[in-house]
Amino acid sequence: MAESYYPLNHTKLEEEEFIQSNLKADESEASIWLRFKQGEEDAFILIYQSTFSKLYNFGMQFGFDADTVKDQIQELFIYIRNNRQRLADVRSVKFYLMKSLRRRLLRSKKSKFNLVSLFLPESQRLHEIEITDTPEMLLINKAFDSEIREKLSNSLNKLTNRQKEAVLHFYYEGLSYKEIADMMELKMVKSARKLIYRAIEVMRKDLKGQKGKLFYFI
């Protein structure tokens, strides 16, 4: 029991660790970024190498086809490579690249599909969230049975696209409220908190009837 509350590593952190091991084994992200800005090609390759698959997966979640995502990643890297002296110092390279890619993708969609994209049904546009059974859930004291998990899954997928995106940034990517606001181009941090709050409200309402099984959740 003593071990049971300790957050264990789990699959969703795998690629995170991969990035960290590449970027943090010998030096910090910030110093690699600095070396890249000073024109060192190996630092650029290192940044590409350690972020490419992360960016690809992230871009694909927005419902674009693989070619569009690859094109925009390509444009993004060409841009930072050509403008390296003028780029700001960044605290997290990964965050900076994800934010830039997101913006490029959403902008490319607007210009490509023009007005049509405004009328696309929401469901076609953004990611799905799923509560999955991670291996670690077997290790920890199993708190939910499959029925609860399915319920949680359903209520998460009822969220609006923006709420879903915020939920993924907060719980999956590990961003703070401030970073979510930055990433999603919200004017106020308060708006990011509101998105998460609404998401939790939806879960709470859906699970209200499950007192016996999840009695702390009310």
Binding site: Y6, P7, L13, R86, H127, M137, I140, F144, R204
Partner: protein, 344 residues
Amino acid sequence: MNYDEFKVEDFLFDEFFVRWVNNPGPESNHFWENWIKGHPDKITVINQASEIIRSIQFKNRYVPTDQDYTVVLEKVLNQQTSWSQDLQHNGEKTFSLWVRYAAAILILAVFAAIFLYVGHASFQEAFSPVSTIIKETPFGQKLTFELADGTVVKLNAGSTLKYPDKFEDRERKVFLEGEAFFNVKRDESRPFIVETVQLTTTVLGTSFNVEAYGNDNSTVAVQSGKVQVRKANSEMDSDTFFLTSNQMLTISSETNSIYKFDGIPDDLFAWKDNIISFSKADFKQITHRLEKWYGVDFKIQKQGQFEGLFTGRYQDEPLDIVLEGLKDEYNFHFTINDKVVLIY
């Protein structure tokens, strides 16, 4: 934060807790381990909350192939933009036979033109690679010149402007350190862009002033027309501002915050007409301006404060005339010796 009454949903909303679950560090481990030791009854709540957090992920995980990785990297290293690929791509698909004939004739025509043109200076110019021109003014000197597109630039003292000898087809981009006044030749198909370290100013055709000296605050002021100003390296709407005539914007070099003003101080554009103008300036601001304007250094050897604000306006006057005016206001003596002004 008092976590004693927290339910699952409260933990889910708490940034500090979520961060610990996602990315535990020595400090947060220490805090939460201690907290849980003191609240053994909360273990189930903590477990449920952290399990929800850790269970949330994308439904589909997309993994790029090794080929994706290599192909994109190669294109990046060869600077092949997808824009140029699209053109090639569409070209192959849609060019019908008669378009090919037309293209062949056009190519012949181009060869003919080349024959006629060879040896002609402007031909060589037009096909020579673009090179960057750097105009630089030392302190004490100003410079007025015209760019390839007809835009007139007046560069204030101690400033640098970099620009290509031939602008691109899609935009006219220059890079400024220091201060300059631009009278931009109107060309709607090619926006004129002034980049400084902190701000990017985009216009079609207008006249405006950009000030971005080293570590000072940067300012963009518009005399006529409309410009768009954006924080450098940002494409966010919230970092984008529009200025019309008689409006200005200042960005703080320390905090990066932006301030927009309706109305421009009278003396802001004065420099371009060789007028040095102070309105309610303190002594430090005045000497700072004079150092840049005349290319001199001030050495202050007078005890005590220089109090009071000074208002004055000089056109094409030498430095000693300006100092004569200031001398009575601030009660000092001065000598000018080879670019050093001694105040005593």
